[in-house]
C-alpha cells in the first residue's frame, strides 16, 4: 500500500490534476460497466415485466419506462451499444481522415487540392445537419448512423494531419531519408506518420465525446438505433414523450453527459501533457 503514493508522484504533473483524475475514473468506470453489464444490471433490459412509468425506488432505482422496462438496466446495457460504436467511429475517422490528410500534406498539388476541397465541403455544413442528411438518405439504422457521422468526422482529422505532416515533411530527417533512397511511401510510413500520431490521438480522445453526442443525437432524432434496443439517445427521445416522468429521459442523458465529460477531461489532459507546439496545433483545429 505504501507504493501507491510513490507511483502517484511518478505520474506526469498533468495527470495528477483533479480534472484528469475525475476523467480517468469516469472513463474507467464506464468501460467496466460496459464489460460487466450482465453482472451489474438487475433486470433484463428488454423485459417489459415491471410496472409502467414507476418512479425511482427500491427494485428499480432509476425508475421504469412506459413499457415497464428497468431504466437502470437499460442505461447499463446502453454502454455496450454506445461505447464500442463510438470507439469504432473515432478509430475509422482517425484512420481515414488522418491518412487522407497525410497524403494531402505530403504529396501536395492535386492530391492536396482534391482532398482539402472535399474537407472544406464537409466544413461548409453544420455538423449535425450534414450527419442528419446522410443518415436520412441511407435509411435509419445504427450502422448507417455511424456511417453518417463518419462522413462528417473524418474532415477535422484530415485538416489536422495535413498541417502536422506539412510541418514534419520539411524536417531534415525526412530529407535525409529521401537522400538515402527512401521511396515516398517508406518516407511517409517511417519518418512522417509516426511523428504526427501523438497529436492526432489527443484529438481523437477529445472527439470521443463529440462523436458519442452526434451518434446518440441521430438516434434521438429517430435516424439511428431502432426502438427496442437500449441506446441512450433513443431512450432520451422516448423520455421526451413522457415529460412528467422525468427519470425516463434524465438517466440516459446523464450517461451521455458523463461519458462526454470524461473524454473531454482526458483529452485536455493529454493535450497539456504534450509539448506546447503540438498543443497549439490541436487548439487551432476547426470543429
Amino acid at each position: 500500500m505504501r507504493r501507491l503514493p510513490q507511483a502517484w508522484r511518478r505520474l506526469p504533473e498533468a495527470w495528477r490534476r483533479p480534472l484528469a483524475v475525475t476523467g480517468g475514473i469516469m472513463a474507467l468506470a464506464w468501460v467496466v460497466i460496459a464489460l460487466a453489464a450482465p453482472l451489474l444490471a438487475p433486470h433484463d433490459p428488454l423485459a417489459q415485466d415491471l410496472p409502467r412509468l414507476a418512479g425511482p425506488g427500491p427494485g428499480h432505482w432509476f425508475g421504469t419506462d412506459q413499457l415497464g422496462r428497468d431504466i437502470l438496466s437499460r442505461v447499463v446495457y446502453g454502454a455496450r451499444v454506445s461505447l464500442p460504436l463510438t470507439l469504432l467511429l473515432v478509430a475509422l475517422s482517425v484512420l481515414i481522415g488522418g491518412l487522407l490528410g497525410a497524403i494531402a500534406g505530403y504529396f501536395g498539388r492535386w492530391a492536396d487540392e482534391a482532398i482539402m476541397r472535399l474537407a472544406d465541403l464537409v466544413f461548409a455544413f453544420p455538423t449535425i445537419i450534414l450527419a442528419m442528411v446522410v443518415a436520412a438518405a441511407l435509411g435509419p439504422s445504427l450502422g448507417n448512423a455511424v456511417l453518417a457521422v463518419l462522413v462528417v468526422a473524418w474532415a477535422s482529422y484530415a485538416r489536422v494531419s495535413r498541417g502536422l505532416v506539412l510541418a514534419v515533411r520539411g524536417q531534415e530527417y525526412v530529407l535525409s531519408g529521401r537522400l538515402l533512397g527512401f521511396s515516398t511511401w517508406r518516407s511517409l510510413r517511417v519518418d512522417v506518420l509516426p511523428n504526427v500520431t501523438g497529436p492526432i490521438l489527443v484529438l481523437a480522445t477529445l472527439d470521443m465525446g463529440t462523436a458519442l453526442l452526434l451518434l446518440s443525437g441521430l438516434s434521438f432524432l429517430g435516424l439511428g438505433a431502432k426502438p427496442p434496443s437500449a441506446e441512450w439517445g433513443a431512450m432520451v427521445a422516448s423520455g421526451v414523450e413522457v415529460f412528467d416522468s422525468w427519470w425516463v429521459a434524465t438517466f440516459p442523458g446523464l450517461a451521455i453527459l458523463t461519458v462526454v465529460l470524461a473524454f473531454n477531461f482526458l483529452g485536455d489532459t493529454l493535450r497539456d501533457a504534450l509539448d506546447p507546439r503540438t498543443a497549439r496545433a490541436i487548439k487551432e483545429r476547426a470543429l
Binding site: Y173, L179, S183
Partner: protein
C-alpha cells in the same frame, strides 16, 4: 578528377506575395575526389540553398550541377537512386527521426550504400560507444546526434559528403573535433567533402580549398593557405579580420559599414561595393564576373 561541378548555378526562393529571392545568383564551384572544399560566408548569403540544390532538394532556376558526369535532377516523388551525395544538416535536433533508434537510422544508410559493417561499427568509426545503436535521439546530446547523422551519411558510402554547418550548434571543443572527424572519414573513403561554415578558423583546419560567398555570389576561391595568408577580396579580408572576436553568428566586425543587403533586391555592380573600403567608380556599375577573386582591384588584364 572533378567529382562535382557547379556551373553558373541560380537558385531562387519563391514565396507567393513576396519578391523572389535569388539566394544563389550564378555560382561556379568544383569539388574533386578526395578533396575538401570549405564554403564560408555570412548568415543568409545562400550557403544552405546552394547545398540543398546540389543534393537536388531545391530545383535550380539556371545553370547546371554535374555529379560524376551526370546532371543532378531535383528530388521528386520518385525514389532516389543517386545515393552518392549525402548531406549532414545544420540542426542536430531535427536531423534525426525522434521516434527511431540511432542504429535503425544508420541501418538505412547501410542499406542505401550496400556497404559492409553494422550500425555499431559505424558508431565506433564516429567515436561513439557501440551500444548507442539502441538509443533514441532524445537520449543523445547535440554533438552525439551530429555524430550519428554523420555515421548515417557515411553508411551510404557517399562519393560526395556535404556538411551544412554541421558544427555550428556544437560547443567550441566539439566543433573542431567533429569537423576533423568529417574530414578524415570522407577523405579516407576517397570521397569529396563540401564543408559549409561561417567560421573560417575551423574551415582552415580541414579544407584544401576555401570558397567565399557573399550574397549569392562567389567572391573568392583559392587554396586554403593562399586565402588564409593572402586574401585578395576585401570581403575575405574583412571576414579574416573578424576572426579574433567572432560573435556567435559569424557577423562581420563593426568596422564594416552597413548591413547585409536584401538578397531580393541586390545592389548593382559588385554586390559588396556599398560596404567595401576600397570601392571605386566601376564597382557600382559593372559586376566583377571573374575569378578567383571577383573584385575590380584584381581584374585580369584586358586583352
Amino acid at each position: 578528377m572533378t567529382l562535382l561541378s557547379i556551373d553558373d548555378l541560380v537558385v531562387e526562393h519563391r514565396t507567393p506575395g513576396r519578391p523572389t529571392v535569388r539566394a544563389v545568383a550564378g555560382v561556379g564551384l568544383t569539388v574533386a575526389k578526395g578533396e575538401v572544399v570549405g564554403l564560408v560566408g555570412e548568415s543568409g548569403c545562400g550557403k544552405s540553398t546552394l547545398a540543398r540544390a546540389v543534393c537536388g532538394l531545391h530545383p535550380a532556376a539556371g545553370g547546371s550541377i554535374t555529379f560524376d558526369g551526370r546532371a543532378v535532377t531535383p528530388l521528386g516523388l520518385r525514389r532516389r537512386t543517386l545515393t552518392g551525395i549525402q548531406m549532414v544538416f545544420q540542426d542536430p535536433y531535427s536531423s534525426l527521426n525522434p521516434r527511431r533508434r540511432a542504429g535503425d537510422q544508420i541501418a538505412d544508410g547501410l542499406r542505401a550504400g550496400g556497404g559492409p559493417g553494422t550500425p555499431a561499427d559505424l558508431l565506433e568509426r564516429v567515436g561513439l560507444p557501440r551500444d548507442f545503436a539502441a538509443r533514441h535521439p532524445h537520449e543523445l546530446s547535440g554533438g552525439q546526434r551530429q555524430r550519428v547523422a554523420i555515421a548515417r551519411a557515411l553508411a551510404a558510402s557517399p562519393r560526395l559528403l556535404i556538411g551544412d554547418e554541421p558544427i555550428s550548434s556544437l560547443d567550441a571543443s566539439a566543433q573542431s573535433q567533429v569537423a576533423t572527424l568529417m574530414r578524415d572519414l570522407a577523405v579516407d573513403s576517397g570521397a569529396g567533402l563540401l564543408f559549409i561554415s561561417h567560421d573560417l578558423s575551423v574551415v582552415r583546419l580541414i579544407a584544401d580549398r576555401i570558397a567565399v560567398m557573399y550574397l549569392g555570389k562567389m567572391v573568392e576561391v583559392g587554396a586554403t593557405e593562399t586565402v588564409w595568408n593572402d586574401p585578395q577580396h576585401p570581403y575575405t579580408q574583412a571576414l579574416l579580420s573578424a576572426i579574433p572576436h567572432p560573435d556567435a553568428l559569424g557577423n562581420l566586425p563593426a568596422e564594416l559599414p552597413g548591413d547585409v543587403p536584401d538578397p531580393a533586391d541586390p545592389p548593382s555592380g559588385c554586390r559588396f561595393h556599398a560596404r567595401c573600403p576600397h570601392a571605386m567608380d566601376v564597382c557600382g556599375v559593372r559586376e566583377p564576373d571573374f575569378g578567383p577573386a571577383a573584385c575590380w582591384l584584381h581584374a585580369p588584364a584586358l586583352p
